[in-house]
């Protein structure tokens, strides 16, 4: 137990030196059953090779920084336990479907633009003054949008999405789920303003309903459902005479 070891095969890529990604294996001590893949990366960086680059912060599954491909599956590495892989080696790569900046660090600017595009804020015809106090909202009304508000923007769903892999114009799972989060909020009146973004040909209609986004979500969000609901809602708005209700 004390001298148990595990092999981490990390994908390396330095744009200044490498023409293509390469693999580097590290044999490190697996000294505690509670160790996660992120702990292994941290061990490597502190003690073996300081040049290995990756993002992380909270190591409690809420900041969304440390998503990587672990043995081919998108995972939060702070929540992927070595004991589930040992004694086999663990292959760690950057999230699929994104440009790679360096090693395990992906470029997620595309998502940041998509996030802004869906207008993820409360839109009202008239804002309530602060002095009027809070909007009343029941716990049942919160239930309507609750699961979609759990998105931590970790990008695992984009890494799992075959449509996004082929066409990064696709609005994709998390952004659609967040649009849904606001559209379903009883305080919001912005559904019409978001409609052009979510009903765009590159938006929900591209989804081929593979559903992998919902499978890999570490927070129980069901973006596939958000996409199907959005398809239904946009259809209703165009087809039915009362479809343009507020």
């Amino acid at each position: 137990m004390a001298d148990r070891r595990i092999t981490i095969q990390a994908v390396r890529y330095d744009p200044e030196k490498d023409t293509a990604p390469r693999m580097q294996a590290y044999d490190i001590p697996f000294y505690d059953d509670s160790m996660v893949v992120l702990d292994a990366l941290n061990y490597i960086k502190a003690h073996v090779d300081g040049s290995l680059s990756y993002r992380w912060s909270c190591r409690m599954g809420i900041c969304g920084s440390c998503g990587m491909m672990v043995n081919g599956t998108p995972k939060l590495t702070c929540n992927a336990f070595l004991r589930d892989y040992w004694p086999r080696p663990v292959h760690v790569g950057p999230l699929n479907n994104f440009p790679v900046i360096r090693d395990l660090v992906i470029d997620m600017d595309d998502f940041m633009h998509k996030l802004q595009a869906i207008k993820p804020w409360i839109i009202r015809k008239q804002e309530l003054p602060l002095g009027a106090g809070e909007h009343r909202q029941t716990n049942r009304q919160i239930d309507d949008f609750h699961q979609f508000s759990q998105c931590i923007n970790c990008m695992l769903c984009y890494a799992a999405c075959p449509v996004y892999g082929l066409n990064n114009e696709f609005l994709g799972p998390a952004a659609t789920a967040l649009a849904r989060r606001y559209n379903l909020d009883s305080r919001d009146q912005g559904v019409k303003e978001r409609l052009p973004v979510v009903a765009d040909p590159e938006a929900v209609w591209e989804c081929s309903f593979v559903g992998e986004c919902s499978v890999v979500c570490p927070k129980g969000v069901d973006p596939a459902k958000a996409i199907q609901q959005t398809k239904l809602e946009t259809t209703m708005r165009f087809v039915l005479p009362y479809g343009n209700r507020e």
Binding site: D14, P15, E16, K17, D32, S34, K45, A46, H47, D49, G50, S51, S53, Y54, R55, W56, S57, C58, R59, M60, G61, I62, C63, G64, S65, N79, I101, R102, D103, V105, D107, M108, M112, L115, Q116, K119, P120, W121, I122, E127, L128, L130, G133, E134, H135, R136, Q137, T138, N139, I142, F145, H146, S149, Q150, I152, N153, L178, D185, R187, D188
Partner: protein, 570 residues
Amino acid sequence: MDFESYDVLVVGGGLAGIRAAIAAVEANPRARVGMVSKVYPMRSHTVSAEGGAAAVMRPEDSYETHAFDTIKGSDYLADQDVVEAFVREAPLEIVQMEHWGCPWSRNPDGTIATRPFGGMTTWRTCFAADKSGFHMLHTVFQTSLKYPQITRHDEAFVTKLLVEDSRCVGVAALDMKSGRIDAITAKSTILATGGLGRIYAFTTNGNICTGDGMALAYRAGAGLRDMEMVQFHPTGLPFTGILITEAVRGEGGYLYNNQGERFLKRYVPNKMELGPRDIISRAMTIEFEEGRGFEGPHGKYLHLDVRHLGEKVIDERLPFMRELGREYVGIDIVKEPIPVRPVQHYMMGGVDADIAGATAIDGLYAAGECANVGLNGANRLGSNSLPECLVFGAAAGRAAAEFAGGAKPVTANPVDAMVWDEARRVETSYIEKKGGDERIGVIREEMQHDMDEGAGVFRTKEGLTQLVEKLGGLRDRFDRIKIDDTSRAFNTELTAAMELDFMLECATAIAVSALAREESRGAHARRDFPERDDQKFLKHTLAYWREGAKPRLEYEDVHLGNFKPQARTY
């Protein structure tokens, strides 16, 4: 040289920073506001806050009670004028967050719900289940996206404040993707960089909490106030240090020792599990020392038990705790007690700033955990830090916008030279450095271990004296570091080295301040001086940076008000 120039620049994209940016724009819609963060804003450590945000929301509650609880909780080291202003602003900020879409948990009538919290005499902690910080951060970040006046510089690491004629004119920042160091200038600058928990080995804080803003301001000449006041939260998970929220006790959870005894009856009999954090962390440490802790593979622990609350309440009010227990400890908290022990959690100390966030340097403001505006004194009450970020973030944003309105524009001439020098410093001290043989990972681990040992829940003269010496030794070794990574692209070893540099500054300020405070007050518990000494130490400590030497200390009177210092019992 080209550089981005703003009216107001915010360093840090957590709750305080984003709130400040929005407040600056709302104060002056024509202001151009920059926001620079070493991570994408939604990664900021606000995201890990769980329990909630305190504010007087119910007619039965009063500002006076919230103020008194906060001041008593601070062991009378809080500035009372600051506390009075805070308690009045906090409810408005909670409502503002609601209008921006924060999914606060609700009462049956649809109003914002409150829960009990430690050291608070009544229910006043607003919450979004047990992911309050996560929801508040995403709400305020997503809301910020609607302001075209705000320009973000994500993943840019500030290496230095640019100070010209004792006025801050912006920052030098490393763009992590390209590896370039640029000037980002502004008429006024707000530091909102969060805490420094990573100077300790056992902490709830994320990897990014490295005291950057405190060290930046300190080196630029601002004071660091009350740095000896470091909060240890009673309930962290062994090994990971993951926070188990105080709301677990607010909702009715019990703490047990290995005798099956609710031991807090011997320490805080009137408050029990809802006592303040400093006292409960000490009580737990004493239980360990006297043999009443459980022994586990990751050291001693006690039991936090919520089984009697039942599955329905746990799933409704504490779903994230159940998730964390299941995923990180392999237990179902509905059926098993949670192993917990005290863990570094929060920094009361920080950049010396007034009620509007203004520091001693013209044009430089600070808010949130990196600042010390005098709210928390020697011990912060749980659920006061989220509203602190809102109230003082907004105040700093407004003040910085006003300062910018009357300030001279920043000129290229000295800025170019300052940034050139800074870029050279980073090159020669890190990337091009030759002949080093010390690993930053090793120095960092030793610092963290030394801080746990020397500046933990209980302190002594001997332990603190050794700590100051050890930190000096680590600083010498830091000068001989070796960087493996010579690439420009996303060089996280370079940023980790600069973070370690910042952490060593903060750690030294903590150790030196703690050694000089020969009394016990709030979170600062000296075994050799177990009593509070109002004659000598009803004062703030101010630490000032000196190159190559220990900090110089000064003391400043606490702003007293309606509440006279008295014995602090619960």
